[in-house]
Each structure stands twice: as structure tokens, then as C-alpha cells.
């Protein structure tokens, strides 16, 4: 962007900011407090508090806190949140007032009357390209084998693209999967895959809410180039003990939550375990193969506790760990042929957060967290393990954050804060040990970096119609004697054409100090997380977006957005790195730096109330990459590039009836997807090779070296279009506090064999499709 133009925009905004600050000293009082769920006590992030007299309002922050400046005298406040009954409160204000609101969910009614949200977030806020999904919404979307998955649901949103069917890896507006910051309770999670990427590590029973930011990225987020997915766990029921037990064909989940001290402290623990390893073991027992033994499984645990110390102080402690483990054993334990191969990956996150209300208009949250990711492969040649080959890829992130919300006046609020992070990357460590030797390779090539950043953002009502969110994030990343300073401005503007129509513009500059190097687009954790170093400079991006938002009635949302993303200093493995890289050499020798460009159009229509609710999204997009050492330096299509994508999600409420005191509710959900094929690399021609030394004349030179595959261009073939339809029927039986949910689903109803991958067999190219029509049943019991 033109620098002088940028300067002029910022000068104008700064002038407006000072002007508004000077005018803000009117006689006004502050109404502040928390908005929470009446039944569980959970705070409702994003709920809106609207002053119907002045037509101004505010949204609760991530901890359900709000603060609103209102003129003295009589005011009427409307407190609203999607899925909840609107609460109306009339007040006669004579001084600052502290007021908490507890909203009731509207599904306690006999029929579905999903209350539409106000237009506060959709039309009036400056947020552009922000999509919200709750755990309950995710549960309704039909999935393969009945396991609800938030990352699968994310792919139904406009601007989100996927590589292979069924996998959880995704690209947002042309960014690589590692360019989306995925956070669980504010903590980055570095590998989000279970089951080789076919399932994400987010247990839906433990998830409360999620937000995907892909257009205007607030300054409080940093560190990734394309988007942010902010997922929050349930806090734990402050009112009563509750639980959920779920069974699907691949895993079981058990969740407990409840008060430790009623309305003061609560907990939530949720555990999930796969059945696959049990099935593997049983199958092998049946076959009677004692020589070779194979197993694969995963588990995860989410836990959270919170303590309301007093009105102004609250503590949260969150914890997540999960592990995937593949094991293969040959020979008995005391056998000389004993070999055990294992391949594991594990995430561990922990965060302690302290909410403090300094004053009715100043809220703060302080966090200290640790996020670790470890990937291990191990070959043991005896049971003791003193004869082994072991490889590690480790990442350790320790951070301290402070986030402040200052609700300065009716027309302006500010967020500011800091972050200090220490990260240690230890990729490709190899340990080899046998009776006579013990060596460790690459143990000296770890990278440590220290990040210190501050941010500031202001939500400022510039005129009655024009509102801005302007801010910046700046700081320094230090690594191996090298300092990288960055200044990243953020700007979004909203112009209100009417109460039903607004237009928005946004620009964000992002910087990324870490990279994921991948040899494959599958979610298989063969990738490395590496840091920017002296030689590999941080990536940057410039994200531009604009959109129109229309809400003809509270039941419907329509939006149209366009975007342009420019990536700079992206890194990628050079071609054939797997073949050329020597053991003991650094990954830095095998990466190449380049750029990327993505642009597109996103259309979305949403129906939020009535018997039929749903979403229709369409994306038209193009995404390319260009690297000096790949594809002869020419631009090539990004692996996630899909020209057209259409997603339709619908949920039809079929009715409710009472039978012997049991309320029986039925609903039908459908999901149709269409996407242009994605790009893969295929051989284009064949050529004659030569035998390797001393192979000449032997039987081995006859076939494969006489006929080699010639690949000249990367991602040179677009696969056929992808489409499928899934249906699910949900039967909910509720009696008093107990609910039983049966979910009958059919994945890929019309048995479309979408290409999952191509591979070469002899002279033929073959297509493999993984997911034909798959019926499944899942069961959930809540109390």
C-alpha cells in the first residue's frame, strides 16, 4: 500500500480520535456487569447490551463483561444473545450502576423459537469476515461416523478451503494451514489432528464457542498470516452437577461439570478415547497372528476450573492434553527378533488466567500459559529399549499476556495489552543407541526465540454512520543474536447505510515468526514446526477486505465480501527435500522463500429463526504461490486452491410431542457440499533413466530405471469436482433434567466417490476414494 496514503489515513483517524475524546466529557453514568447463562452461570462472550433510547450499545468481551456509558435519567437496556431470550431492563440512573444479567435459553420452550441476535454484531460492529460457531451448532451438522468436529464445521464457512475429504486441515482465504492461529482458551495449539487428520483434537462436548477471524483481524491477535480461530472451552456449571456421555462408532466421550462451591467455583472435565485400537487388537486376536501386532488409538482430556474470588476478581485454570499413538511390534518380548515401532504425537496446554475489574470501565485479563507439542518415532530392538533409534520434534511455548478493555465512553472503547513469549523449537533430534554406540544428532540445532509485543486498538464512533476500529501491534522477536522488529497496523471501517445495511472495509498487516514445513497436504504429523532464524526471516502478509452486510429482518443475514491477501517471505520445502536432505543437516538448507497471492468473493445467507434454519455459502477464489526454487520460479496454484465452493447446511425442526412426561423432539439436518477439484502434482511424461552404478547388468536395472516419471510443474493437475450430501435425523427425549439424544446419520447419501488421491500402479493411474455412503448412529446422554 502507498505509504503516504497510509500516513494520511492514520493522521485523519488520529485527529478524529482526539476530537471525540474532547467531546466525550458529558454527564454520563456507567452501567457495567456480566452477562451469563441463567441455567449454568457460564458467561456469554459476545452478548450485546443495547440502549434503545440512544441507539448505542456494546458487546460483552470474551469473559462476558460489559460496560456502557449512558446519559442520566431513564434508560431501557436490551440484553441479547443468539439462542437466548432477550432481556429488557429499565433503569433510572443517578450514578454508576453495576448490573449482572442472566439470560434464559429459548429452547426451554415447547417449540423452536431461536431468538435472532440483534444487528449489533452483524450490521453495526466493525468486524468483517468474522464467523461464530457454538458447540451446539457443530453437533447438528452431519459428519462421517457421527463424531462432531468443529474443524469440519469451519470448512462450511465461506473462504475456508480443504485439501482432502475427511481431513481436518484447512486453508483460510488462501493461507496455509499453519497460517491460521488456532487457540484453545487463548493458548495456541500447534497440532490439531487426531487419527492422521481425519478428526480434530477438539472434543465437541468440551467446547462452548468458537470464532473465526478472517477479514478484520483485531490487534489483540498476532503471530499468524491469514486468520485466527479462537475456541473456548466450557467454564463449568456454577449451578448444578451435570454431565454428558456420548458414543460414536469411533470414540466415546464423557464430560462432568458442576459447582465446587455453588455460584463461586466450578469445574469441567471431559475425556475422549477412540475405539480403533480395541478393534485392531480384537481383529488381530481373531486372526491369531502372534508374530506381528499393530495398534493405533488416541485420547484427549480437557479440564477447566474457575473461581469467582469476588465481584472484581476471577481465576480460570484450563488444561488440555491429547495423544495419538501408533505401535507395531514384531516378535515376542524375549525373542531375538523383537522389534517395536511406535509413532506418537502429543499436545499439552495449560493456562492460568486472572480476570480483574479495575473500575466499571476498565477490565483486565492476565494469562500465563504453556503450550507443548511433541512428536516421537521410536524403534526399540529389545524390551528394555537400550537398543533403539529415536527421533523427536519438539516445540515449547511459554507466554505471559495482559489484555485490557477500557470502555471510555458511549462512542469509544479501547483494548490494549502486551505479550511476552519464549519459544524453543527442537526439530529433527535423532538418538541412536546400540551395544557399542550411542549418538545424538541435531541436538545443537534447536532455536530459541523471545517475543515481546504490545498492541492497541480503539473502537471509535466517528460519526453517526461511520465507526472505526483502528490499532496496531508492534514488537520485537529476538533469535540467535538477530532482532526482528515489526509494526503492524490494523484498520476496519463500518459505514451504516441504514439499520439494515452496512458496508465495511478492513486492512490488516500480519507477521509470522514460526512456520510449519510439510511434505504432504494430509494432516499427518510428519511436518516440522520451525522458527524464523538469522537465515529465514519472518513471513508477513497484507490482508485487504471489503463487504456489504444486509439484515432485512432479524431472521436473515446476508453478506457479500471480497478479499485480497498478499503473502511475503513464506517458506516451503524445496522439491524432493525428502530425497536430498542428509541426516544431520539443518532444515534451513532445504527451504525456499517466496510469496503468495489470494483473492476472492464470498457470499453468505443465513436463516436464524423458525422451523428451518441454515446457511448457504458460496466462495469464488484463486490462490497461488511463487518460490524461487520451485516450479522454475514460476507461479503455481496453491494445493488448497478451489475455484468454486458451495455449502448448504439446513436444520429442520420436525416437531415435539409429550409422551408419559417425556418431551420428544425430532429434527432433520442436511449438508450439501460442492467444490472445484484441488490441485495435485502428477507425472506428465516418461523418460529413460540409467542404471545406478553396479546395477548395470543385474535384474534390477531392467524395469524402473528404464522408465522414469517426468514432473516439471508443481500442482499441475486439477482433480474432478467434489460434491456430496449428508443427512442426519436427531431424536431427543427429555425428561426432567435428563436428555437422551439418538443421532442417525448417512454420510454421502448418493454415494459419490470423490477422489481422495491418485496413485500410480504400473502404467495406470488410479483414483482412490475413501468415503462411500456411510451410515452411522451415535448416542448421547445428558444429565
Amino acid at each position: 500500500m502507498n505509504k503516504s496514503l497510509l500516513k494520511r489515513i492514520f493522521a485523519t483517524l488520529l485527529f478524529n480520535l482526539l476530537f471525540v475524546l474532547l467531546l466525550s466529557g458529558q454527564n454520563k453514568f456507567t452501567v457495567s456487569g456480566f452477562v451469563s447463562d441463567r441455567a449454568t452461570g457460564e458467561r456469554l462472550a459476545g452478548a450485546t447490551v443495547f440502549n434503545s433510547e440512544s441507539k448505542s450499545g456494546t458487546a460483552c468481551n470474551n469473559y462476558g463483561f460489559f460496560s456502557l456509558k449512558v446519559p442520566d435519567g431513564r434508560v431501557t437496556l436490551l440484553v441479547r444473545f443468539v439462542g437466548y431470550e432477550t432481556q429488557v431492563q429499565q433503569l433510572q440512573l443517578k450514578n454508576d450502576t453495576v448490573l449482572d444479567f442472566r439470560l434464559s435459553t429459548n429452547n426451554q420452550l415447547g417449540e423452536v423459537k431461536v431468538q435472532a441476535n440483534s444487528n449489533e454484531n452483524f450490521i453495526r460492529s466493525t468486524a468483517l469476515g468474522v464467523n461464530r460457531l457454538t458447540g451446539n451448532e457443530v453437533e447438528k451438522i452431519p459428519t462421517v461416523l457421527g463424531e462432531p468436529d468443529i474443524l469440519k464445521a469451519i470448512k462450511l464457512l465461506p473462504g475456508v478451503s480443504f485439501a482432502s475429504e475427511g481431513t481436518s486441515g484447512f486453508s483460510v482465504r488462501g493461507g496455509s494451514p499453519d497460517q491460521t492461529l488456532i487457540m484453545l482458551d487463548g493458548v495456541p495449539v500447534y497440532n490439531v489432528n487426531h487419527l492422521l487428520g481425519f478428526l480434530s483434537l477438539f472434543n465437541n462436548d468440551a467446547i462452548n464457542d468458537s470464532k473465526l477471524y478472517k477479514g478484520s483481524l483485531p490487534a489483540r491477535f498476532g503471530g499468524r498470516l491469514s486468520s485466527v480461530l479462537d475456541i473456548s472451552m466450557k467454564e463449568g456449571n456454577l449451578e448444578k452437577q451435570a454431565g454428558t456421555f456420548s458414543l460414536s462408532p469411533i470414540a466415546g466421550r464423557y464430560t462432568m461439570e458442576g459447582p465446587i462451591v455453588k455460584n463461586k467455583a466450578s469445574y469441567m472435565v471431559s475425556a475422549r478415547r477412540s475405539w480403533i485400537d480395541v478393534l485392531f487388537m480384537e481383529a488381530q486376536k481373531q486372526v491369531g497372528n502372534s508374530e506381528q501386532f499393530l495398534t493405533y488409538g488416541f485420547w484427549d482430556i480437557n479440564a477447566k476450573a474457575n473461581w469467582i474470588i469476588n465481584r472484581n476478581n476471577r481465576l480460570f485454570l484450563s488444561f488440555y492434553t491429547g495423544r495419538d499413538a501408533y505401535q507395531m511390534r514384531e516378535g515376542e518380548k524375549d525373542d531375538s527378533n523383537y522389534v517395536k515401532f511406535s509413532y506418537n504425537w502429543q499436545n499439552l496446554t495449560g493456562v492460568l488466567r486472572w480476570n480483574h475489574v479495575f473500575s466499571p470501565d476498565l477490565f483486565a485479563n492476565f494469562s500465563v500459559y504453556n503450550s507443548r507439542y511433541k512428536q516421537t518415532y521410536l524403534i526399540k530392538y529389545n524390551v528394555q529399549g537400550n537398543n533403539h533409534y529415536k527421533g523427536f520434534n519438539n516445540l515449547n511455548d511459554v507466554s505471559l499476556k495482559g489484555d485490557f478493555d477500557w470502555f471510555n465512553s458511549e462512542h469509544q472503547s479501547f483494548q490494549f495489552g502486551y505479550q511476552l513469549s519464549y519459544k524453543k523449537f527442537s526439530p529433527e533430534i535423532i538418538s541412536i543407541k546400540d551395544d557399542s554406540t550411542s549418538i545424538e544428532l541435531n541436538k545443537d540445532i534447536f532455536t530459541e526465540n523471545l517475543l515481546s509485543e504490545v498492541y492497541f486498538e480503539g473502537n471509535i464512533q466517528l460519526t453517526d454512520r461511520l465507526k472505526s476500529n483502528v490499532g496496531f501491534r508492534t514488537g520485537m522477536m529476538s533469535t540467535s543474536g538477530k532482532n526482528y522488529f515489526s509494526f503492524r497496523p490494523r484498520l476496519s471501517l463500518r459505514y451504516l447505510f441504514s439499520d439494515k445495511l452496512s458496508g465495511k472495509l478492513a486492512y490488516s498487516r500480519m507477521t509470522q515468526y514460526l512456520h510449519q514445513l510439510q511434505n504432504t497436504t494430509l494432516g499427518i504429523p510428519t511436518e516440522l514446526w520451525v522458527a524464523s532464524t538469522k537465515r529465514v526471516i519472518p513471513g508477513t502478509s497484507d490482508l485487504f477486505s471489503a463487504g456489504a452486510f444486509y439484515q432485512p429482518s432479524p431472521a436473515y443475514d446476508f453478506s457479500a465480501e471480497i478479499y485480497l491477501s498478499n503473502l511475503h517471505h513464506a517458506i516451503q520445502y524445496k522439491p524432493s527435500t525428502m530425497a536430498f536432505k542428509n541426516r544431520g543437516e539443518s532444515w534451513e538448507d532445504y527451504v525456499t522463500t517466496g510469496k503468495g497471492k489470494s483473492y476472492g468473493l464470498e457470499l453468505m445467507a443465513k436463516k436464524k429463526t423458525g422451523r428451518l434454519t441454515g446457511l448457504l455459502s458460496y466462495t469464488l477464489s484463486k490462490s497461488t504461490r511463487q518460490f524461487a526454487d520451485i516450479n522454475f520460479g514460476e507461479s503455481f496454484p496453491f494445493a488448497y486452491d478451489r475455484r468454486h465452493q458451495v455449502h448448504v447446511v439446513g436444520d429442520l425442526f420436525l416437531g415435539e410431542k409429550q409422551k408419559k412426561g417425556i418431551a420428544i423432539r425430532k429434527s432433520l439436518s442436511a449438508n450439501f457440499n460442492f467444490a472445484s477439484g484441488n490441485y495435485i502434482t502428477l507425472a506428465e511424461r516418461e523418460y529413460q533413466g540409467i542404471p545406478l552404478p553396479y546395477m548395470d547388468g543385474s535384474r534390477y536395472d531392467a524395469n524402473w530405471l528404464s522408465q522414469l516419471s517426468l514432473i516439471e510443474r508443481i500442482n499441475n493437475y486439477r482433480m474432478p469436482a467434489f460434491h456430496n450430501l449428508h443427512l442426519s435425523y436427531q431424536l431427543k427425549r427429555k425428561k426432567a433434567d435428563k436428555t437422551v439424544i439418538w443421532n442417525f446419520s448417512v454420510y454421502n447419501v448418493y454415494d459419490r466417490l470423490n477422489p481422495w488421491y491418485y496413485y500410480k500402479k504400473g502404467n495406470r493411474l488410479r483414483q482412490i476414494s475413501l468415503f462411500p455412503i456411510i451410515p452411522s448412529v451415535s448416542y448421547t446422554y445428558k444429565w
Binding site: Y377, S576, A579, L692, P693, L708
Partner: protein
Amino acid sequence: MIKQCVSCLFYLAIVFALNGCIQDVDVNFADKDQTYVLNGTLDASQETVTVWLTKSRPLASDIAFEVVEDAQISLLENDQKVGEFTRSDSSAYLLNYRPQPGKSYRVEAHVDDELVWAETTVPSSPVANIRVAQSRYISFYQIQLSDSKEETNFYWVSAIGYEGSEEAGNRNIACAVYSSFVYADDFNQTHGDISMYGWEHEYYMRFNDHEIQGKTVDINFMPQCINRPITIFILSVDTSLDKYMKSSLLQKNREDLSGEIPIAYSPFPIYSNIHGGTGIFGSVNSTSKVFRQVNHE
């Protein structure tokens, strides 16, 4: 190691593949132009240099590779022309010349007003003493290698022997090399019978001198699937041939495995250092020893 990771994926792929479907597909790259293919290896032990010049063909084609018959091919040593190749009956072009270690060579093929060329530097012969050694229970081959400080080397170890008896004449390279040599590259390594000889390496055991530069090391190993007389050899190859060997072996491994069970991997280009076309022009030097009467049992 890679093989283990891939095999891990295979078993999991089976589970999904049981529910899935495999079908043949036609991919049309017919509009792609033909490419010149130049291949050749300079061997410091040979008196003749041979290069081949052909053209590529469409994918999955049954037609033979088109031989380029009218090319003018010359060899330059340190930028000085040493001779012109003459075409044999096949696609091969021959030049009577013995390449010298330490010298750089450039091959130039002029064909249809186009220039196809490549360069290589011939490595020194590996300084190695090859013998049969005996531990408490087993005998094995041992190469005592003295690495050169001055050169960056890429080594490949294997053996040639006979499948069946010598009289049958089926001469073959070892199907695998077993060794517990800790600096061996793991790209073609799999877990063999470690208690006897160590890890299994498909066809060759490769290592570079990154961790042993200027040192003398003992490499113990045992070739498999071949009978005596056995020729044990250690090759030192230039960086281009090293990459060609490694990438082609790796791709062969992937294609073999995907022939059994479909796996998802991105095919990668086999290394080429040819300008104006594809193929390989590399160089090799070697030390070898023939063992006829040793009883390895």
C-alpha cells in the same frame, strides 16, 4: 525410517480403503512437448565415456523412447574440449577417454539448434581397506574408510554377487545391506534383524562425510541375497549422481509400496542436472575387492 512411517500409514489406509473404492483414471497430458533426455556417468575406472540421448514420451505409453540420432556431443575437461562422441548402434554415444579425479567435466549436446548440457566433478577414489572380519559369533565384511578432509564425499556401499551359482551367471546387486553403522542414511533403511547385523538398507547403504570428515571409520556390514564370488564395493559419487541415486531409489520404493497398497504421497521429481532437458550427468569413483573362498556362515 521413512519406510516405517509409510508402512504405518499403509495399515491405516487399509482400514479406510476397505470402505473405499479404487478405479482407473485417464489423465491427459498429451499436449506436452517432448523433452531431450541426456544421461551419462563418468567412471574414473573406465576407459570409455558413454552418454545416451533420447526424447521423453507420453505417460503410460507403449512406444519406445525416440533416439536422437544426429546430435553433436562433446566433452570438455576444465573448459578444454577433449573430444567428440560418436554414436553407436543404440541410443548411446561413445568417447574413448578416461576421466580424471578432481577434474571438472562438461558435456554439450547440440541438436536441432538447441544446446543440452551438464557439468560434473569426478571425486577421488575412496581410500578404503576391505576385509572379512569376525566377531564372537558371526563374520561380516568390514570397510576401513579414511575420509578426505579436502573433499565433500557421498559414499554408497553394497556388493555384487550371484543369484544361485556363478555358473548360472545371474549376476546381481545385493537386495539389501545389513549394517548397524550409525552414520548410515535412513532414507532406505528398515528394521532388519538387528541382533545379527543391524538395519536393513535397500540395495545400497548411503552415507556422507558430514559427521566423519577427515576421520577413519570401520563400516561393518553384510550383503543379502547373493552368493560368492562377491565383489564388495564402496563408491564415492559427485553431488549430482548422489541426488539422482537417492531420489530414484526413494521413488522406486514409493511406487513399489503404492503398487501393493495405495498411499497418499506427492510424487517428486527425480533429480536432474541437465540444462535444456532432463536426465543425469554424474561421476563416480570406487574401490572394490572380490571375495571368492570366504565362508560367511
